[in-house]
């Protein structure tokens, strides 16, 4: 699963923040004091990039013990003029009441078609709330922003997306959720995976197919035999939400022309996709006593995702899977840009 970390150091964060601040006041108002300064800045930067890339003015407000969350969100939306910083009036406001343990994502008129109530409820219940239940408020917000970005990217493929200009404001669209429990979500379900192919007979492609099948079924069990023992240990500490599993399944459903590459010793393998498919990160696999297994530990260290969900290598991490990418040219940030064969 993806971490919510921006490229570069905290210093870079500060520079980015200063560069895009523009003196218009913060997008994140932590009245309840729930975020560390670093978390607040991280949210601020992500949301400024959302404004920059997709013209969406996304505010975050935390309070303690306010009024009815639905009305309070609308009041904040009006008071902060959410959407006013977007040239097309696209406004979102997330209100989290730390005392009532409730969250609401208020959607402005301009985005009602892109983010209907059902989608907002899905984002809250299937992505945000599982993090909130574990008191990881900032992570929950960042994780949900990822889904918002994905949705906005798809919307921007529609020609009319940029033509519509709305007045900022909200008519009460959006959804609310209690953050005390995440209905229908278990963080450590018993494994229910049925592998039609025995572990030893599985090819790397079979393993990836089994993993994607588990994601489609929202099976986040770390005990599946398609993971290396290290990956299982790591996954036991992970929070994998239903929305994240859906996102993986959805993303890879659109990936094609995968290519399998083995190491010289044939005990490790990589499944990669064409460079143009920027969101289809490669899979790292290793052959152990139980046959081919996903090396998610190394994937987690070596691969990062940019703000448009495009993957890149993290140069600060060494990994033994470089053999599969020797024919690719990477840019300074680790994004693959072209194949050497094209030179």
């Amino acid at each position: 699963m993806r971490e919510f970390r921006l490229p570069g150091s905290a210093g870079l964060l500060m520079v980015l923040l200063a560069a895009c601040n523009g003196g218009e006041g913060p997008l994140v108002r932590d009245g309840a004091g729930l975020f560390t300064e670093q978390q607040r800045q991280q949210l601020e930067v992500h949301h400024r990039f959302l404004l920059l890339d997709h013209d969406i003015d996304y505010r975050v407000v935390t309070t303690r013990g306010g009024n009815d969350i639905d009305l309070a969100a609308l009041e904040h939306f009006e008071a902060l003029s959410a959407g006013a910083r977007s040239s097309r009036g696209r406004g979102l406001l997330l209100l989290f009441d730390g005392e009532r343990q409730e969250v609401r994502l208020e959607v402005g008129y301009a985005l009602e078609g892109t983010f209907p109530d059902a989608f907002v409820a899905y984002v809250e219940q299937r992505q945000m709330v599982p993090f909130f239940v574990e008191n990881r408020i900032s992570d929950g917000i960042l994780a949900s922003t990822e889904l918002i970005v994905e949705r906005a990217q798809r919307a921007s493929e529609n020609a009319s997306w940029d033509d519509e200009i709305w007045l900022a404001g909200s008519g009460g669209a959006g959804a609310s959720a209690s953050t005390r429990t995440a209905p229908g979500f278990t963080t450590r379900p018993a494994s229910s995976t049925h592998n039609p192919v025995s572990a030893s007979a599985r090819s790397p492609k079979d393993v990836v197919a089994a993993y994607l099948d588990a994601m489609r079924r929202r099976d986040n069990s770390p005990e599946l035999d398609i993971y290396t023992p290290e990956s299982r240990s790591m996954m036991r500490e992970w929070l994998i939400t239903p929305a994240q599993m859906d996102q993986v399944a959805r993303t890879y459903a659109g990936c094609s022309r995968e290519e399998l590459r083995y190491s010289h010793s044939s005990d490790s393998a990589v499944i990669r996709y064409p460079i143009a498919q920027r969101q289809c990160a490669p899979w790292f696999l290793i052959r152990g006593d139980e046959g081919w297994q996903l090396d998610l530990t190394m994937q987690q260290k070596a691969i990062r995702f940019g703000r448009n969900n495009a993957w890149r290598f993290d140069f600060s991490s060494d990994h033994p899977y470089g053999f599969a990418f020797e024919d690719w040219v990477l840019d300074g940030n680790g994004f693959p840009i072209r194949s050497r064969d094209e030179d």
Binding site: D117, A121, Y122, S170, G171, G174, S176, G184
Partner: protein
């Protein structure tokens, strides 16, 4: 609008499907159908007298101003042709007398102050009332639109719950006895919801000047609140079925219904705010004069009957 039509057609076919498969009774189906049709669509301004006031005050003001301009033009003392040096002796004030120019100016100023200025103020006040009334109608349109949205969603909710429980009854025969009370609760909840929805639809459709009738609007508010409670009652039945309650399909439906309830609430608050502004303007001077001349009528608040007669909570104060 096209989306609303599709939703409406979809709701009709749902009701038909449920009736045919025996998930709901004929009476329930009829009530749900009634909830879909009555009072649908945007409010017609003529229904509230907004267009019958065909600008008499504006026309009267225009006539007054025109007459005044003509008067100034023709009543101004003649100065003679361009070849004649103007003889101002009769225009100037002489000892013990008042010149023609002075008389003309005095009379003009008096007419301007006493007739033209009030007419202009009255016309401006009239226009302001028209704008405020339009705001009331627009906001009521939002309320109606959300009512319609809710009416279209209710059959989907009923179908989702009744079909799920019906399926359970068929497949899990050994627990039917245990589930029977739930099925009874469900039938009652559907009954209440369908009846409430029909009442709301009738209340929306029956009154030709609904938003000017406080009693009717209070009744509609009570009916609407009851439907909201009935929806909650139906959702409460579902809470005993975690598989259904936590499914994505049900989450989606629930989100749409809750979203619609919230939109109704927001639209209601904005409508009440617009009504407050309109009614206040009508009571102030010179709004009360313009309202009397223009035939404006006080608008009703869409709220519970708390006996105060004033607007309830406002979002934007």
């Amino acid at each position: 609008m096209a989306e609303e039509q599709v939703r409406g057609t979809d709701a009709q076919s749902r009701i038909e499907r449920m009736e045919q498969s025996g998930l709901i009774s004929r009476q329930q189906a009829d009530r749900l159908r009634a909830g879909l049709t009555a009072g649908a669509g945007e409010p017609d301004p003529s229904r509230y007298g907004a267009t019958r006031r065909s600008m008499p005050l504006i026309a009267a003001t225009a006539v007054v101003v025109l007459v005044f301009v003509l008067y100034v033009f023709f009543a101004m003392p003649p100065g003679g042709g361009p070849e004649v040096v103007q003889d101002v002796s009769s225009s100037l004030n002489q000892p013990e007398t008042v010149g023609a120019m002075n008389k003309f100016l005095s009379l003009s100023i008096a007419i301007f102050v006493l007739v033209v200025v009030p007419a202009i103020i009255l016309a401006a006040s009239y226009n302001s009332l028209v704008n405020k009334e339009e705001a009331v109608l627009t906001n009521w349109g939002q309320v109606e639109s959300q009512f319609q949205r809710r009416a279209d969603l209710i059959p989907a909710l009923v179908e989702s719950v009744t079909r799920y429980l019906g399926h359970e009854r068929e497949t899990l025969t050994e627990i039917t006895a245990r589930r029977q009370p739930d099925l009874d609760r469900l039938a009652e909840a559907v009954d209440r919801l369908a009846a409430g929805q029909q009442q709301v639809a009738e209340a929306r459709g029956e009154d030709e000047s609904l938003i000017e009738d406080q009693e009717a609007l209070t009744r509609l508010f009570a009916g609407s609140a009851a439907v909201g409670k009935d929806i909650e009652g139906l959702l409460a039945v579902v809470e005993d079925y975690p598989d259904l309650a936590s499914s994505d399909q049900f989450l989606e439906l629930q989100a749409q219904l809750e979203g619609t309830e919230n939109r109704i609430n927001v639209a209601r608050l904005r409508f009440n705010q617009a009504v407050g502004e309109f009614n206040s303007a009508m009571r102030r001077i010179p709004g009360n004069l313009a309202a009397g001349l223009g035939g404006f009528r006080r608008k009703a608040y869409f709220k519970a009957d708390d006996g105060s007669g004033e607007a309830d909570e406002s979002l934007f104060e």
